[in-house]
Subunit: 427 residues, 2 copies
Amino acid sequence: MKKIGVAILGLGVVGSGTYKILTEHREFYKRTQDIDISVESVLELRKERALALGIAPCAIAESMAEICSNPEIDIVVEVMGGVEPAKSFVLSALRAGKSVVTSNKELFCKYSHELEKAAKKNNCGLYYEASCVGGVPVIRSLLDNLQGNKILSIMGIINGTTNFILTRMTEKGASYREVLKEAQLLGYAEADSTADVEGYDAAYKLSILSSLAFHTKIPYTEIYREGISKVNQTDISYAHKLGYTIKLLAIGKCGGNGIEVRVHPSLIKSEHPLASVKDSYNAVFVTGDSVQDVMLYGRGAGALPTGSAIVGDIIYCATHPVARYSTFKNTEKADAATKFVTNFESAYYLRLSASDKAGVLSKITSILSKNGISVDQVIQDKERVDGKVPIILVTHVTKENNVKKAVADINAVDNVASVDSIIRVVS
Amino acid sequence: MKKIGVAILGLGVVGSGTYKILTEHREFYKRTQDIDISVESVLELRKERALALGIAPCAIAESMAEICSNPEIDIVVEVMGGVEPAKSFVLSALRAGKSVVTSNKELFCKYSHELEKAAKKNNCGLYYEASCVGGVPVIRSLLDNLQGNKILSIMGIINGTTNFILTRMTEKGASYREVLKEAQLLGYAEADSTADVEGYDAAYKLSILSSLAFHTKIPYTEIYREGISKVNQTDISYAHKLGYTIKLLAIGKCGGNGIEVRVHPSLIKSEHPLASVKDSYNAVFVTGDSVQDVMLYGRGAGALPTGSAIVGDIIYCATHPVARYSTFKNTEKADAATKFVTNFESAYYLRLSASDKAGVLSKITSILSKNGISVDQVIQDKERVDGKVPIILVTHVTKENNVKKAVADINAVDNVASVDSIIRVVS
């Protein structure tokens, strides 16, 4: 029976979950996979964490060098998060001939080119299923299942914190601030929630997923990013009336004009499968030219779900002796030939406050029309707010720049109307 | 660049779709996968089909022997369906050292042990992602992603025809017979619809999926099977009132008492993700001890979605030089150590016609109670049908045998009540 020695770097939530799965399932993997996986070493400054998990003191490494020089270790699991020291540790593991399994989306998104170069040079594997959408098998599905397709689009709810917040706001009618506090108390959001609520986390994951989907490096810096902190009850409630749910979607499309990649709050039809992805669940909706629509759904985070992806990669690495590398051009920057579309095509939800005078709606729709925008749905609400009436419009598909121009034009007309919310409508 | 020659056996719906994908994407695969895949040969008695696809007459094989002896062919794609001659052809391909990709659930379900033995002996790959749930990556997810989990249950809508019929019955209020006819006209159901509507197709797929999930051969003959031909509007409508949707579910569970495998119409809570899987879409809901719930959703059939799975396997075979085989005990029959549970635990939906007399409900619930069944929900409808009142009960979780006994007891009480429908309730 093949023996595989593993070292785990970092015993936070995911590291501890991975340790538990590996130790509790050791006999199960011997029986079902014909491999004996043992955790030979851990690297964790807070030694009490290791001891609390029942790890023998002699298995707690003093340094990364100790792990690199340990011949019993075949695979290094990096679950520390952040760029440094994770990056140096991963590079040194690869240089020492150890394969690496990582859950670190920020590291992989920013430095996949460097890491993969080192992996290739040292004939090691580099696996990162756990970097995106926890236990949901999206990366290997793109690499090993849907690889016969030209992927037309990926659309995902790929951040659990924001989906929890938006679900609670929708179901309980609570404000963004209230729900954010609740999420922090429950451990679903960190004290500094910026990376989640402003869409950075989703953008890192979208960078990885869209690079795989579209076979070329999509740096996260090319991704349009807008968080959920401006989403409010008023818009959630009007969206509902119009048959939509508001979700933070990460969207990648590849078409004739180029690639567009964006993370932003979106109105999505309430009957779309993504609309019913609730709480901290995640899902990725992939459209390929042959497979048509596929959705992969599950827990996007957590000790055991993400641990499941890590362990899946460990077993894959142990049972597939020839390492494979990216099927995308894994460069630092985007390839010169890659065109990015920034003047997106989308439908839009616009909420305006308008003076309660005759002809206002006509003035607004005339400005929209001049800018090439036609209207699909309108609600003109009777309830005045601060002496103004809310007008809610859903446009047909148009160009981003047309909307920007129209909004500027509307806002410029004295005292007639102001645009309070602009949210893209996704279909 | 690696060159891969493919032969396709059968140019029906899936074979033609596969041919189209491979030929239209040849340059794409050169660029993204660094392999040149060419269809070298096809085996199809109806030669006009091959010619209509633009296949050169010299590429239409006269016999399987011709394909086996062609050194240009590395991979044989079997998309003929049925056991023979598919089985003989697959075996002869494997014996000739060709790897095989198949979409044939009946063949794989019944003869996986023989086919795999031949594949191993000849050091060839044997791939069958397309045999279950079309383009949805469920088999490789079980093998290569979720393999670190003890799978607790799989629950799937894995037959497109029956899901189309039940969706139409639910949404349009039409009868089973009417919708079956419509499905046949649309090409969603075959003239002889037995394999689909009586659950054989789903049982073949469940046999394959549960063998993978539970690491031991689950012969389809061990699967309890009940089709949808008795599902009617009355039950669909009461289910809806109670908050449920009726679906044909394929269920595999592995617990302390053993393995239970069953295909039957089921009431599932309308907010469960499987309840919103409509029309010919399919989905598999997998629960693992680490990953928790994962759902994989997409088109379960069709030329291009199933072709996507076939082509995914071809590329996987071409890019993973070392073939891997089942992680389940691939025997002809179930292992002697495998225990099958037939006295299922489930909640039940019962619809009765009762005499409109005082004390009837009490008599019925007393019989249920004597058989260890407690009631969760009741509807006693006022509307008489043939002088009887309908009583609808949803029980708490109980044992299959308790329900059988209770139903016999109720039916035995003269003129009091008869049980018209029994449907399992799944959560």
